[in-house]
Amino acid sequence: MPVEVPKEKWPGSVRTITLGALPAEGGTRKRVVTVGGETAMPFMHFEGEIPYPPVVAIEIKDRKPDDWSPLLLETWRDVIDDPAQWAAAAEEAGADLIVLALSLTNRDGNPTTPEEAVASVKAVLAATGVPLIVFGPGQAEADNALLVAVSEATKGERLALGICEDKNYRTIVATAMANGHLVTARTPMDVNLAKQLNILISDMGLPLDRILMDPTTGALGYGIEYGFSVMERLRLAALQGDKMTQLPMIVTPGFEAWKAKESKVGEGVPKAWGDWLNRAINWETLTAMTLVESGADIVVLRHPESVRRVKAAIDELMAAKAFVS
């Protein structure tokens, strides 16, 4: 007796968003990245389209970071002082995208200037062919000062600028509008707050196909279940036709996982935690994979080995289309 599988036919779909611009489009990228377009829950190829695979971004900094796990500092040791080399190494390691997170202060401990930020961004653009996402240091004033300069200096590149939050989004959105960039919109693990910020941003006049939403996640062990469920709910709402949730999702499991004690600390921890390096990478991989399963379109990672694993998994998840059609 053949089993008849009930299929969900959803009325809505996720928007398709392209990051980066080729020379013909006014940018300098060798490749662009398109995400979104899903008409079904993650990888349910048998009942809808998953036209673009989720992509993996590697996060780099404009200088050697002060607070990263020593394991990461060691991994990127040879390139960590030069964002251009770091970016090139990240591309080499398989990054579909680069996330450049600007620091609050420069190497000398002085506040990062807009000129320095622009220089870092331009160096990274020159060193790579993949699209770029630029995050400010995370303090409203610094974010606005640095991102506006970066945005103007890279007009037409179709960068994604972040991070827009409900307390500070207007300047980033304004400069993105003026210079043809995208923004990422972050809300603290809540479906309604995510919708609200998307409404506020689109009310300013930025078209919805230039907004990536970051519903925020916790790392494994640190609230991942909230991120996981919020993402599933956002995706379900999008498929049900709620316009303000139909945006591709970007999440930063690398940042979250490497902040955890499990990744940061190697000594004085329980023996049951096992080998430090492998544990840390496992922490990042499991966090990222869980989020890919719940609908992430862009996952931002930090370690090349997790990038390799997550990309291999995504390949298999996408290839399954062949087995059901």
Partner: protein
Amino acid sequence: MSRYIATRAIRGANALVREAELMLKRALAEKGGAQKVAFPNTAYYLPLIYGMTGVAVEKLEDLVPVIEHAKRLLHPVPSEKMWTPYLGETLDSGMATLLAAETIEAIRFVYGLQPERMPGFTLAGGTAYPELDSPNNGRVGHLNGPIDDIQLRSWGIQLVDGRMPGFAAIVGAAKSNEVAVKIVRELQKRNILCFLSGNVNGRSIIHQLIEEGVELGYDTYTVPFGTDTISAIYALGFATRSALTFGGLKAGQAREILLYNRERVFAFVLALGEVDDLKYAAAAGAINFGFPVIADTVIPEILPTGVTKYEHVVSMPFNEIEGADDLERAERLVQKCIEVRGVKVKVAEVPVPVPYGSAFEGEVVRKNDMRVEFGGKHSRCFEYLYMAPNDEVVDGKVEVIGPTFDHIEPQGHMDMGIIVKVAGRQMQEDFEPVLERQIHYFINGASGIQHIGQRDIAWIRISNNAAEKGFKLEHFGKILHARYHSDFGAIVDKVQVTIITEPELLQQWLAKARAAYDYRNRRLADLTDEKVEEFYSCTLCQSFAPNHVCVISPERLGLCGAYNWLDCKASYNINPTGPNQPIKLGKVIDPVKGYWTGTNEYAKIGSHGVVQEVSMYSIMENPMTACGCFECIVMLIPEANGVMVVSREDPSMTPAGMTFSTLAGIAGGGLQTPGVMGVGKYFLLSPKFISADGGFKRVVWMSSILKEMMAEELKKVAEREGDPDLIDKIADERHVTTVDELLVWLEEHQHPVLSMEPMF
């Protein structure tokens, strides 16, 4: 629409278009059609023309169709006898004026007549003119002319992100140099950009400011365009480019560009001095952008709102403005401009001599540390907030009437009344109590000040420490002014506070306040579900109960007990994209069980399809879902033909065989479970409480803590239900914890459910 204004604007437009046409003809003859035409450092050609018509003017001959277009927009001057709405014609003429003005300025650039020369003058930052600014040419003094793209971008971002509230196009000359300076300073203080142009009999505000040594240029947010009216066109070129840059709009999308400006760019025209035909025509152009015109002379007003967000043309004759002197009049004039355009005031810091912030909210001022108290055992303190017409409220005014506490002995007391008068275009009478309740939180934020209670049982203490630091009565007013603007700016435009300690006046106001409290109580009691057209949703709890929606009606408050219908209404007005959205009721499907087309539709959307229908007044059929925050759980006791009500605070066993915490697992989670419902405790008192199932008489068991907490109110409910002893007939955990005991109790006490219809 004033025929007078229409006539003059149409006449002005006709004249200017004709002038532009003649100039263009002459220029074509003298310079040839291929002569290049451009404004400095812009990628938007002649921006207004480019935006409005889509024509990218690069050569003189490109201007020919522009003038043709302008001519088509002209209308004959209305005859003396005709009386029709002239708005359309006037607006067309305004647009023609703008096209003509930009054409004229462009031709002037060709002839080297722009930017306007001003010998000896140096801009404090401005558009670059290498030729004129070169030391080789002896640095020719000049005004700014149009704003370049770099500055546009920098200011544009600030206008879009809200750091700059808007811009003022000031045209003409002020009554005196002193007034000119005051006006500009007042605008600068509010971060409003000033664009200067025009003159009255040859004298321009630009001259006035230069004479007074005011620095003009990009650096001071005060840009001198030119001393004639035509140069005011640069302000609209700026507005057009803003829309093209930040609104993602394309050249030629005239309507969208105008709407963008109306909705998003907070700009206005301030016409100083006599208004001539050309100024009327230019003003009509500005109105196209939704920018209102405020004149300091007598001109007919156009008050009905429509094209602009508020009034179109407002006349505020300078000498008639209330004020001690010209400076105060200038201040009021600017205030008016801001009101008319709806620019919101932000007060960055609460101006009090003690630390202020939510961290101080819980501070207690003990008797020993106290300087003085108002209210409490020995004195009276009340607070009263009411709304008043806009022109009856002076924003920021704080008045203390009566003695201060200087003469009161340490740890003494005195009477005080705090009267808050607010105005706002979005303000409604229903918001008065909601706003009044905030006084408690606002005042508590000051370090060393303790606030308890509300209305006429308010009780405020000022600590010695705060008094030593200089905290005075007026600071209550300063706090309230700042906080209402920052927290309730969406509904409040103006706030005026009066602190009364003068005994006689205090009694008068206390009587007024009490009348208002009474009125509000009655209004709340009268506010029934039948009297409104919309309920409100509350999705605050969806973060943990994703499919739950509270439907809040006047007679059914949120199940957490924290939000009633008025709160939701105010919350929606303050935050239109927030968690409280109006639910239009639509058609009544069943008035008894409480079904409307609107509530059902909303239930489906809000619950993401999990709940199909919701009944407002029944526990047996599609009851409202619950998140988990409910104050009480109501549950069917089938054996008793009634329901029990268990309070969150009651840990004991109930006749349902389960405690509150076990029941909570069944009642919560946003799932519809007929027979179980989570509610706010005050809903028990509502006439709509399970009214479809028989109402309050169905209650057979209730946690004793509820009986005690709401003894008075329950007594009234019993009377309403026609059974004054009803509450005593309801069992509680002190006597009954099983169904069997309950049945015996009901028999013994002859509870009305015994004779009611079966519940199912």
